[in-house]
């Protein structure tokens, strides 16, 4: 398997682990609801860190706190030692780029224009230079366009540069979001469920893509539901349950941790030990998300009960079915997130 080999030499690579992202005690409350509670997380350069957890665990909210879309109620986020300003465009300028769980491309712009918008912080041309069209302007536009085309080649969309973003198939839209994020030359990229809704081949391609991004020297923090995907990919995995970080460690540690199995993977399904299922099952084509998807049971009903209980360790907990629930769960928050951000 190519992925495993790539990963193998990657793990040996980071010799100078500079801390890229350092989040300390991040807490986010919405009224009475604490969506994220006292989460610490560090990402070092050259690392791919995974963030997993059942639906509604607060992963996306945590991302929003990191990128300035929300201002955390408590806690502090540093990027390369600097405290991040609470405005999302300043966070991007500082060097953190992100994608969205529910794709947020600029639908009526072309693929190329989408990536060019991503270059915004790395270019300076203002209105006057646009109106006067001096040589500096033309040079800057040409350079942006060249860089954007490189990125499109990187994700394999160079032939569709002039298509409208909304006309791309789903998988390509996700890739385009990644290219758009990369265009701001980030030091850290946050991917929110980059393979949601993808078929197995596309998921594998995405895996390769993320390794390639890491090899470009960009640290990656990725949210994902797909266990096999995440344990293949990540150097370190953090598990978020009920807004709290349950455990953090390398794939092996996390996979074999009792509490994770209990809280996240649910009960064993067909007698198969879920412990080694994610890493070892030889890819039953079509069901790459086997553990997560098949255990679809009414979680929502159980969730409030658990909030009161101190620890989320009840073995009866089952992950909710992801595909059916995710869009409706995420979308409504986003308009709210906008207001939050602007107020």
């Amino acid at each position: 398997m190519t992925t495993t080999t790539t990963k193998a030499d990657a793990t040996t690579e980071p010799a100078t682990p500079e801390t890229v992202l350092d989040a300390r005690g991040v807490t986010m409350r919405f009224g009475g609801l604490t969506a994220v509670r006292d989460v610490d997380l560090t990402v070092r350069s050259g690392e791919i860190v995974g963030l997993i957890g059942p639906n509604g665990a607060g992963k996306t909210t945590f991302f929003n706190c990191l990128t300035g879309l929300y201002v955390p109620t408590e806690g502090e986020v540093r990027y390369k030692g600097q405290v991040l300003p609470p405005k999302s465009f300043k966070v991007t300028a500082a060097g953190i780029a992100r994608t969205f769980q529910n794709i947020r491309l600029f639908n009526n712009m072309t693929v190329l224009e989408n990536v060019l918008v991503g270059r915004h912080t790395r270019t300076k041309e203002g209105l006057w230079s646009a109106l006067l069209r001096g040589p500096g302007f033309k040079k800057a536009e040409a350079a942006s366009e060249k860089r954007a085309m490189e990125l499109l080649e990187f994700i394999g969309l160079q032939d569709k540069a002039q298509h409208l973003a909304k006309n791309l198939p789903y998988g390509e839209q996700r890739k385009l979001e990644i290219a758009r994020a990369l265009a701001s030359d980030p030091g850290l990229i946050l991917l929110d469920e980059p393979t949601a809704g993808m078929n197995p081949q596309e998921t594998r391609a995405a895996e390769e893509l993320i390794f390639a991004i890491r090899d470009m020297g960009i640290a990656v923090l990725v949210i994902e539901h797909d266990m096999r995907f995440i344990f293949n990919l990540c150097d370190r995995v953090a598990v978020l349950v009920q807004g709290q970080k349950l455990i953090e460690g390398d794939s092996q540690t996390v996979q074999s941790d009792e509490r994770v199995i209990a809280a996240y993977l649910g009960e064993p399904i067909e007698g198969d030990a879920p412990t080694d299922a994610p890493a070892d099952t030889p890819a039953p084509a079509g069901t790459p998300k086997a553990p997560a998807t098949e255990a679809g049971a009414p979680e929502e009903a159980a969730a409030p009960k658990e909030t009161t209980g101190k620890s989320p360790e009840k073995p009866s907990e089952k992950p909710s079915e992801k595909s059916s629930e995710k869009p409706s769960e995420d979308t409504p928050h986003d308009p709210a997130s906008g207001k939050e951000n602007d107020a």
Binding site: T67, L69, K87, S88, F89, T92, A93, R98, F100, R104, L105, F106, N107, N108, M109, T110, E113, L116, V117, G118, R119, H120, T121, T123, E125, G126, L127, S129, A130, L131, R133, F137, A140, E141, S144, G156, L157, D159, K160, Q162, H163, L164, N167, E172, R180, A181, S184, Q201, A205, E208, L209, A212, D334, S337, G338, K339, N341, D342
Partner: protein, 610 residues
């Protein structure tokens, strides 16, 4: 409504039978012949006398010389005939219908029919009965009817509809059938193939074609502006409306846009030349007056399009910025009623006007653009009113004496540009250029500036940021765009451009009064009409607001006989246009892109693995 009640039978016959027309019982070859014959007869009948007396305007009594409304019917008839010939595949006419002839024929026949029957009806009503028709009038009525019947019998691809549920009650069945009928009815006019691609032509030929298109556009516009009586203008609207739709359906328009898109700079330059030729086509200053007002209106609409179309900021008080510019220019123009006794040269007045609007734009924008959504609309609406009322009250009694209150600033002197007096007549190459024509040229220059600003800012880093914010503000912020700053630039730029136009407007109208700058009123430009021009013409496009503004100025101006009902008719027309062409008259480049993609996607399915 025979066509509709007939349709329920159609869905019942399964799709395997060959395609039929809306009028099912006429065989296709007869229908086609009928259309061609009807079209040819229409053309011929335009050379006959339609009525016996010259009391009906336009003098339709002369044999051998089409006049007034006859000319319009003639054009529509010619279109029908040509499209019909093209549908037979006659050599030399094939190029006319690159997207298929049948849809175009239907609309052209409809154009001829509607105009002819409107004329005949107008004659009969105005002169007291159909007895006033000469044989020619009857001939044209029959000919256009034949052509229309033939056209409607032409086959079209019927959309799949579901037969009504027999267990439903009668009313539900009726509703269902009606909606099925409507679907087929729409399809009869609606289906168009994508047009053939234009064969590669040598560049001079392409340029020649563009010149031809522009000449036609100038001709149609000049004709429309010069229509002298109500009937002629209504006929013009009918003919131009259906004719435009027919040409659009034939695919010619799309081919033309392909060409103009290829030679964009050239087309714009050509359009300006064509516009500059307009005063030379006029014998007196009357229509140049209309021309200047249209230009002012269109320029301001284009400025608003930066704010609304590109950046997506709903500005309901935009006309106030025009007012700020106009008042600023008037105050420094040396007008006797201005409390400031200064008389700045025009270049300085222009700067003062634009700068004043810019300042107001920033003042209004800075506090409101931090908010999202409807706040801006409400605040700008308020600002528009505040401006008007403040100007009304700074008359020396209710407030400081600055603007002369409701009397406004009158007797604004004409511009004098390096010895060129804008108020006087000049003779250029044998043509007399009057006062309004002078201003027309000046306004054309201002518009050129606005066009330049629109194009250059739209196609740049800042323009992309505007569109990104319009598309998805949260994502745009996450891409590192400082939303507030970028929106403020758009808002202030739009304000400054309106102010620029205002400085000229003050001189053209002699007087500026608060009542010129309303939110809504029967006379454009006002905020509502400006917004309507942008939306109607096509948001985010350059030519859209220009076309929209021209229409929105001409229609109320020409339909004054409607009196009180003018605004009502205007509203109705807006609703209809938005219903049938929501993307505006000139669709956005991005929508066109979508068109193109349909035939290109299969080619680019291959994709790299990693």
């Amino acid at each position: 409504m025979t066509t509709i009640s007939e349709n329920p039978t159609a869905p019942a016959t399964p799709a395997t039978t060959e395609a039929t027309g809306l009028i099912g019982f006429i065989p296709v070859h007869i229908a086609r012949a009928l259309t061609l014959g009807g079209g040819a007869l229409t053309v011929a009948s335009c050379f006959l006398a339609w009525t016996w007396t010259a009391r009906f305007p336009g003098d339709l009594t002369v044999y051998g010389y089409p006049g007034g409304l006859q000319l319009q019917v003639l054009v529509a008839g010619l279109l029908t005939t040509l499209f019909a010939l093209s549908s037979y595949g006659i050599k030399g006419t094939r190029w006319l219908t690159p997207a298929g002839a049948d849809g175009a024929i239907k609309l052209a026949a409809l154009a001829a029919f509607a105009t002819a029957w409107y004329t005949v009806a107008a004659i009969s009503i105005q002169l007291g009965g159909p007895v006033n028709l000469e044989p020619g009038g009857a001939v044209v009525a029959v000919a256009t009817l034949l052509a229309l019947v033939g056209a409607l019998a032409l086959p079209f691809e019927r959309p799949a509809t579901h037969p009504a549920d027999p267990e439903d009650n009668g009313w539900d069945q009726f509703k269902h059938r009606a909606s099925n009928g409507l679907t087929s009815f729409k399809a009869a006019f609606g289906t168009t193939g994508t047009p053939r691609r234009l064969p590669p032509l040598p560049t001079p030929v392409e340029i020649l074609i563009i010149a031809g298109v522009l000449a036609v556009a100038l001709g149609v516009f000049t004709y429309g502006i010069g229509t002298e009586y109500d009937e002629l203008f209504i006929g013009f609207l009918i003919t131009a409306g259906f004719g435009f739709a027919a040409v659009n359906k034939s695919g010619l328009l799309q081919q033309a846009t392909q060409l103009t898109g290829k030679h964009q700079n050239l087309t714009i330059a050509g359009a300006f030349i064509a516009a500059a030729l307009f005063p030379f086509t006029q014998t007196d200053d009357q229509y140049a007056t209309l021309g200047v007002y249209i230009l002012i209106f269109a320029t301001v609409a284009l400025g608003l399009n930066i704010v609304v179309g590109l950046a997506g900021l709903l500005d309901l008080g935009y006309v106030a910025f025009l007012g700020v510019g106009a008042y600023a220019a008037a105050l420094v123009s040396g007008a006797p009623t201005s409390p400031f006794g200064v008389h700045l040269p025009f270049w300085a007045a222009i700067l003062v006007g634009a700068a004043a609007s810019l300042v107001f734009g920033v003042l209004i924008g800075a506090p409101t653009l931090r908010l999202r959504g409807d706040y801006l609309a409400i605040v700008t609406l308020g600002f528009g009113e505040i401006f008007r009322i403040a100007v009304m009250n700074t008359d020396g009694t209710s407030g400081p004496d600055i603007t002369n209150g409701s009397n406004g600033i009158a007797s604004i002197p004409n511009l004098d540009f390096f010895g060129f007096d804008f108020g006087a007549e000049h003779t250029i190459a044998g043509f007399t250029i009057g006062r309004f024509a002078n201003y027309f040229f000046l306004m054309l220059l201002i518009m050129a500036v606005v066009v330049l600003v629109f194009r250059r800012s739209g196609d740049s880093r800042i323009g992309r940021a505007w569109v990104a914010i319009r598309e998805d503000e949260t994502a745009a912020l996450a891409m590192g765009i400082n939303g507030f700053r970028v929106k403020l630039i758009a808002f202030a730029l739009g304000a400054a451009l309106a102010g620029l136009a205002g400085t000229v407007q003050a001189h053209v109208t002699y007087t500026v009064t608060p009542e010129q700058y309303l939110f809504a009123g029967p006379i454009p430009p006002n905020s509502a009409f400006l917004l309507a021009a942008v939306v109607l013409g096509g948001m985010g496009t350059m030519s859209g607001p220009l076309v929209g503004a021209a229409l929105l100025f001409l229609i109320p101006n020409k339909l004054q006989f409607m009196g009180e009902y003018q605004l009502f008719a205007f509203g109705l027309a807006l609703v209809l246009i938005m219903r049938f062409r929501p993307e505006g008259i000139i669709p956005n480049r991005r929508n066109q892109l979508e068109f193109h993609e349909k035939d290109e996607t299969p080619a680019t399915l291959a994709k790299a693995g990693a």
